[in-house]
């Protein structure tokens, strides 16, 4: 019995040991699986998890570069940066935005203007972006907010670099401005592969040189490799790739000249482009009225925007490169040049100018009633004889005119470094076919060629195009691309890159022909339409007055009081000096300024005086009074001589 129990116990013992063995096997199998899992994770998938771990913990924080500074040729700062504090709100992080702003008002002065601007920014951007509600906080305001900041989750103070245009409105159209990056900018940056460089930047050049030299001005964004914890907070910096500051621009523009001219416009609308014909450097580029580019930097408030946008004076329009005007008689020197080159018969003829020209049954009037009687090529330029140029145009034919003028970049962009240049209109039968839809309108009437000859009809060019063509003639046919930027400087290395003026082309003009046209233009200044304005000039200059009809009154919204002023002709003037070795060429237009000699030429005189003799008009008020009298005497002197095509009813209008 006892033995059985013992036997039984032995049997149980054996059975138990089998169970223990099974358990041990089970343990090995399970731990084996675990080891397999570790090998999978730590050996086979190690690289993947290592990458994931790095991504987990390393975050790249962009450091935006400081934007390049823009200076004029003498080093006067036109655009620079300063550091200031802004109060910024991230709408998505703020529960009740209205309430937050209301409470913020208790600490920091937020004007209705700030509020409107914020609203506009909010409409334009996504909610998770941080938007400034107040800029340029004082130290006291910063301290006040800092003490209360715990009450405002989603609101923070940031130190930022701000763009500032110290001269305000001066040269605003030339310099342009920067503004917040919008969806369109993002798309463009993305397409050009530059988007990554804009991480951490929220401004971009929107207009003018700020836009066209964006790549140079912006610089290269730096990065800080920051170790972050699971909450995304930076723990320490692992690596820092410093940003590369944007390059500084030095312009060929002389801001003293620029500002002097701006004063001359004093409330009038118009434009002046002055170019150094020897290299295409822009010396001054005026479009009046201007605007304060500082308004745009932090986002413009809707009220200021509508004031600018709806003003009948169109301050936002860059007239220098986007204002298209019929050139009037300033077109004549180029017509004359082309006629000489084409050896058009009239250039060697003496014609009789009866005060009108009859062509195809139509009578085209001359500005001088009764005409000049006998008229030669050389006198026709100085005195601006319409009859002579009517005949010249007919003899040349529209195709020859269009071809010759296209050579001078009429009807296309001059390729300057300013963005958004408009091409103007160089009329031709082909242009007309493209321009109009109806077959009847597409036909070119030979009568239309007549008015093209005196710069009217469909002709429309920008002041930039006029200045460019003038510079090309002044430089004896060697054409440079107009450019406002002279040198690009790396602020770190100090390396200066000169924007090399390379001649675009050399016109195939015969030197003798050029000199003949230029002599004609010198005549304008001595015996012709601008003789009064340029009396006693200490240099020999060449020029041409012009008067452009106001042709775009149809559909005008101008009010009854303004309409009379707006009906007046535009006053044009082109000039260069010294005429044998020109260092400056320019085109001026004063909108509704009347005859060329009346408003535009006096401005040109001051520009040439300043540029060639270093003399600034002493007292703007006194000089403008003197100019007015000079202009009026000049106008009186040349009243009958100036072309007034307005009165020639047969001239086709737009």
């Amino acid at each position: 019995m006892n033995g059985r129990v013992v036997m039984n116990q032995h049997g149980e013992r054996n059975a138990f040991q089998v169970r223990l063995a099974v358990a041990a096997l089970f343990i090995f199998v399970m731990f084996g699986i675990l080891v397999g899992r570790f090998v999978w994770l730590q050996v086979l998938q190690h690289d993947r998890y290592l990458t994931l771990a790095e991504q987990n913990r390393i975050s790249l924080v962009p450091i935006s570069p400081s934007r390049g500074i823009i200076r004029d040729r003498n080093g006067v700062v036109l655009a620079h940066n300063f550091s200031a504090y802004t109060l910024e709100i991230t709408p998505s992080k703020v529960g009740d935005l209205e309430d937050t702003i209301a409470r913020l008002k208790g600490i920091i002065d937020i004007t209705p203007k700030d509020r409107r601007r914020f609203k506009k920014l909010q409409d334009e951007t996504k909610d998770f972006e941080t938007l400034p509600i107040r800029t340029k906080l004082t130290d006291e305001e910063v301290a006040r907010f800092a003490a209360q900041s715990y009450r405002f989750p989603g609101v923070e103070i940031k130190a930022r670099l701000f763009r500032q245009y110290p001269l305000g409105e001066s040269a605003s159209h030339l310099i342009g401005y920067i503004g917040r990056i919008n969806d369109r900018d993002l798309k463009k940056l993305d397409e050009s592969g530059r988007l990554a460089n804009y991480r951490g930047t929220d401004h971009i050049g929107k207009l003018g040189l700020e836009q066209s030299y964006e790549e140079q001005l912006h610089g290269v964004t730096g990065f800080e490799q920051v170790e972050i914890d699971s909450g995304g907070r930076a723990v320490r910096t692992l690596k820092r790739i410093p940003p590369q500051s944007g390059k500084d621009l030095t312009l060929s523009v002389d801001i003293k000249l620029q500002q002097m001219v701006e004063q001359q416009f004093a409330g009038r609308r118009g434009s002046l482009v002055a170019i150094d014909p020897r290299n295409g450097g822009i010396l001054a580029l005026i479009s009046q009225p201007g605007f304060d580019p500082n308004l745009f930097v932090d986002g413009i408030d809707p009220q200021s925007w509508s004031e600018l946008n709806e003003s009948p004076d169109k301050p936002l329009l860059n007239r220098a490169i986007r204002g298209e005007y019929p050139p009037g008689s300033t077109f004549k020197p180029f017509m004359a040049m082309a006629a000489l080159e084409l050896n058009t018969p009239i250039v060697n003829q003496v014609i009789t100018d009866p005060g009108y020209f009859v062509y195809g049954g139509h009578r085209f009037n001359d500005s001088k009633k009764g005409g000049y009687g006998s008229m030669t090529f050389d006198r026709s330029i100085a005195l601006s004889s319409d009859t002579y140029f009517y005949q010249m145009a007919v003899q040349m034919g529209i195709d020859n005119i269009a071809k010759s003028m296209a050579e001078l970049d009429f009807g296309k962009s001059t390729g300057s470094d300013l963005p958004g240049e408009r091409p103007g209109i160089l009329p031709s039968p082909e242009w007309k076919k493209k321009r109009f839809k109806k077959a009847a309108q597409q036909k070119w009437y030979s009568g239309e060629t007549v008015s093209i000859g005196i710069g009217q009809g469909y002709n429309a060019y920008t002041p930039m195009q006029m200045a460019h063509a003038t510079a090309t003639l002044a430089n004896r046919g060697v054409m440079f691309k107009p450019h406002a930027v002279q040198t690009i400087t790396d602020p770190i290395t100090g390396k200066v890159t000169v924007v090399e003026p390379t001649p675009v082309k050399t016109m195939s003009w015969k030197p003798a022909n050029m000199e003949r046209v230029i002599r004609g233009m010198e005549g304008v200044m001595t015996i012709g339409t601008a003789a009064g304005v340029f009396r006693n000039a200490p240099y020999v200059s060449a020029g041409k007055t012009g008067t452009a009809q106001v042709y775009s009154l149809k559909g005008s919204k101008y009010n009854a009081n303004a309409i009379k002023e707006h009906l007046r002709d535009h006053s044009w003037f082109i000039a260069f000096a010294p005429s044998d070795k020109p260092t400056i060429a320019l085109a001026v237009i004063v909108e509704n300024g009347g005859f060329g000699a009346q408003a535009a030429a006096p401005i040109a005189r001051k520009v040439l005086d300043y540029y060639l003799t270093g003399k600034l008009p002493v007292d703007p008020a006194a000089t403008s009074a003197k100019n007015a009298s000079a202009a009026s005497s000049a106008a009186q002197a040349s009243e009958t001589e100036e072309s007034m095509p307005e009165q020639t009813e047969d001239v086709p209008r737009d």
Binding site: A23, A53, S230, G231
Partner: protein, 370 residues
């Protein structure tokens, strides 16, 4: 005199088990120092707790197994009553009612069951040692089922399964029929199939449990929620590579990516800093503890001792396996600490208490021999 005292102290202690425990404690201290971001106080807390637990272990080791047998039934009954009390007066936290407020502190009665259930079953089988038949296994099954059902209702499937498994090990060593084991294995396979298929799972388990399983199968489904633990755990372990990033150099750990990194997820810290080699060393240490337990079981002179020691060893193994499986993304996330490594008092006390039982069983055998 001193020798007498020393003998008295060392008499109940199993030197091998003690050595392995001390080695594991060393690992634990080293890892905790890193996991707690060099929190010296926390490490000292843990060391203090180790001392206290080891004293508790020593005390239990001094109790004769036959006295333990007398404690089995009362412990079990108290455990069940407390679980019932949880049902009626329990504290609810995170949607689960698992705790009882006993004035000074909150206790989790399921922790007591970890000890009480195998003790109860071992006593039960020992009691019917020579007359064991299938009916006893049915009764044993019921003894397991009662606390399991109560814990399941809390709901705490993880703990319920772990406690049920500790009971099951007793049944296994007591001679549960192979056929039944086969059926059970089949049942588990079917169950595993069901729970890994969402539409089927939802009929059987709570939705959160099904989501947990679904998340485990594809952590990217919920990368910031339930999947976060798994993703970060596997990233930490995976990025450790062969030799790890080195002590105190685990980036995932020190940059706060590992949740609960001093407690349930401490293995992620270990795996990141010590790599595959470190993991294998840890597995070896665990195997040593487990096999020492199985050896004690094998040499125990009573059925009670054999069953209890076997169950304790297997239970220890299960906790280690489940925790490491969970942190490395192989098993669903259940609140199980890594035995003897994780920071946390309750778990360490209860584990060392079971080791006290092991030592007591071991000592009982040597006394008999002597």
């Amino acid at each position: 005199m001193i020798k007498v005292i020393w003998d008295r102290i060392k008499r109940p202690v199993d030197p091998w088990l003690l050595l392995f425990i001390i080695l594991l404690f060393t690992v634990s201290t080293v890892v905790l120092y890193s996991a707690s971001n060099r929190d010296y106080e926390r490490v000292m807390d843990k060391v203090t707790f180790m001392g206290v637990s080891m004293f508790g272990m020593w005390c239990i080791a001094n109790i004769q197994p036959r006295i333990l047998m007398h404690l089995a039934l009362p412990a079990y009954i108290v455990g069940v009553v407390l679980l019932l009390a949880v049902e009626f007066f329990g504290i609810t936290s995170h949607g689960a009612t698992r705790w009882l407020n006993i004035g000074i502190t909150r206790i989790q009665p399921s922790e007591l069951m970890r000890l009480a259930l195998p003790l109860m079953l071992a006593w039960y089988f020992h009691h019917y040692e020579s007359t064991l038949n299938w009916r006893h296994f049915v009764v044993a099954g019921l003894i397991i089922l009662v606390p399991f059902a109560l814990i399941l209702k809390q709901p705490d499937l993880g703990t319920g399964l772990l406690i049920a498994s500790s009971g099951f090990y007793v049944l296994f060593f007591a001679g549960l029929s192979w056929r039944f084991l086969g059926v059970m294995a089949g049942g588990i396979a079917i169950f595993a199939y069901i729970v890994t298929h969402w539409d089927l799972c939802i009929n059987v388990l709570h939705e959160y449990q099904c989501r947990r399983i679904a998340t485990m199968l594809d952590p990217m489904e919920d990368p910031l929620g339930a999947g976060y633990h798994i993703i970060q755990g596997t990233i930490a372990i995976g990025s450790g590579g062969w030799f790890g990033k080195g002590w105190l150099a685990g980036t995932q750990t020190h940059l706060d990516f590992i949740p609960e990194r001093t407690t349930d997820f401490i293995f992620a810290v270990y795996g990141e800093e010590f790599g595959l080699v470190g993991n294998c060393i840890l597995l070896v240490l665990y195997l040593l503890v487990i096999f020492r337990g199985l050896m004690i079981s094998n040499s125990a002179n009573t059925l009670f001792g054999r069953l209890l020691a076997g169950a304790i060893a297997m239970n220890f193994f299960t906790y280690a396996l489940v925790n490491m499986g969970m942190v490395s993304g192989m098993l669903p996330v259940v609140g199980v600490p890594l035995p003897l490594i994780s920071y946390g008092g309750t778990s360490m006390v209860s584990i060392l208490a079971t080791f006290g039982l092991l030592m007591s069983i071991q000592r009982d055998r040597s006394l008999m021999k002597g």
